[in-house]
């Protein structure tokens, strides 16, 4: 079974999905990711799906689940690099990925996480 690698960059974890996801690898990814978030104390998770060409409702639900798990562990999830065809498919499937933040690419995703943090700090110190 292929495992999806999880990269750590500062206090952000980056997951780049470049394989066809099977049920098993998705479950493994969820487990690995939650362990990594706890172990590193990450404040943000970025899931890069720019290489994903085909999606179904399963992958849509996976993204929502990962976002839910990360939020429980106090880390924001950003899905980046979704292709137009994928976005259209998800909309046609009726999945709007509520609660998941999105960005056009990895760079904008990192910027978004930094922005969220600065907003949180500003509101905390007020």
């Amino acid at each position: 079974m292929d495992r999806v690698p999880i990269l750590k960059l500062g206090d952000i974890l980056i997951v780049s999905i470049q394989i066809d996801l099977q049920d098993q690898s998705v479950l493994a990814l969820q487990e690995d990711l939650s362990e990594q978030v706890v172990a590193t104390g990450a404040r943000g998770v970025i899931i890069d799906i720019s290489a994903v060409e085909i999606v179904d409702s399963f992958i849509g639900r996976m993204l929502a689940t990962i976002a839910g798990i990360s939020r429980m562990l106090d880390a924001e999830t950003v899905v980046v690099g979704m292709r137009p065809a994928v976005a259209i498919t998800l909309v046609e499937l009726g999945l709007s990925l509520g609660g998941v933040r999105t960005a056009l690419n990895l760079e904008k995703g990192v910027a978004l996480l930094n922005h969220i943090e600065s907003v949180q700090i500003a509101s905390a110190t007020r």
Partner: protein
């Protein structure tokens, strides 16, 4: 009557072929006259004459070649296609073919032999077939023209313009249907990826009516853009349209809607962090020339 029926079909057919050959000039002249008057002043005589000459030759040849009509059909299809493109009606096109019947009938009447009459019935059947074929080719050509135009319209009517660094706009003009919305959606999303724009404005000033289906399409586009990490603003909602939307009970949810494109631009600029101020006391320079 009995006399005519007792004549073998071949004899009648041969007689017609002979008539077509003997009276070629007369029949052809009459045919050109009929076809010319049916086409009005829209076509010049010399090109029509050369076209008909070709058809006439092909027709005679096909009678010689034991009824192989493929050459003739090719010519007729070409004629129908050009006429469909030039904007002739189907009647005007068909009369060109049917005119030959009338043109030949005069010669048959003069000949007054039973063979010729019998042959004329056969000839008329052939021309009817060819006439139907012409109308059919005409319709096919016309349909193709319409299809091409629809496609061109689809390409024409969906421009995506860049308003600012990171802000694109799609001015929609004309009625929205699912096919068009699909094109708009795909084009907009692709542009968002290509330019890395985080904001998009969908301007519906030019959309005459918004019903539940159009609203559904717009919502889908906005949600798809959101999935990719871009925010959409819908602008250009006229009072009547706002009224319709509310009456229909369509929920736009948390999607930002603005009355004009200017408002939408101001909103997106603010959202992308651009600050702009109106310079106070803008002056009008007046220079007086003293002599």
């Amino acid at each position: 009557m009995g006399v005519i029926l007792s004549i073998p079909a071949d004899a009648g057919r041969r007689r017609i072929e002979e008539l077509l050959q003997e009276n070629e000039d007369r029949v052809f002249k009459r045919w050109l006259e009929i076809a010319g008057s049916a086409s009005g002043g829209q076509v010049d005589r010399s090109s029509l004459a050369s076209q008909l000459r070709e058809l006439y030759q092909a027709l005679r040849q096909s009678f010689g070649d034991s009824g192989d009509l493929s050459d003739l059909r090719g010519l007729l299809a070409e004629l129908s296609r050009t006429r469909a493109r030039q904007g002739f009606t189907s009647t005007e096109t068909a009369i060109v073919v049917f005119g030959l019947k009338e043109a030949l009938y005069e010669s048959v009447e003069d000949d007054a032999s039973p063979e010729a009459l019998r042959g004329f019935i056969w000839f008329s059947r052939v021309i009817d077939d060819l006439g139907l074929f012409t109308v059919e080719s005409y319709a096919t050509a016309r349909e193709k023209v319409i299809l091409d135009q629809a496609e061109q319209l689809l390409e024409l009517s969906t421009p995506v313009v860049k308003l600012w660094d990171g802000i694109v706009a799609v001015p929609l003009v004309g009625t929205l249907d699912s096919a068009r919305t699909q094109v708009v959606m795909e084009k907009l999303l692709q542009i968002l990826v290509d330019t890395g724009s985080e904001h998009a404005v969908i301007d519906i000033t030019g959309v005459p009516a918004v019903d539940t289906q159009v609203a559904q399409h717009l919502l889908k586009t906005v949600v798809a853009a959101r999935l990719m990490g871009a925010e959409c603003v819908i602008s250009g909602i006229r009072p009547q349209i706002a009224h319709t939307i509310v009456t229909l009970g369509i929920e736009f949810g948390d999607i930002v809607t603005k009355a004009t494109l200017a408002d939408a631009l101001a909103h997106t600029l603010r959202a992308s962090g651009v600050e702009f101020t109106k310079s106070r006391g803008s002056r009008i320079a007046v220079r007086t020339v003293e002599d």
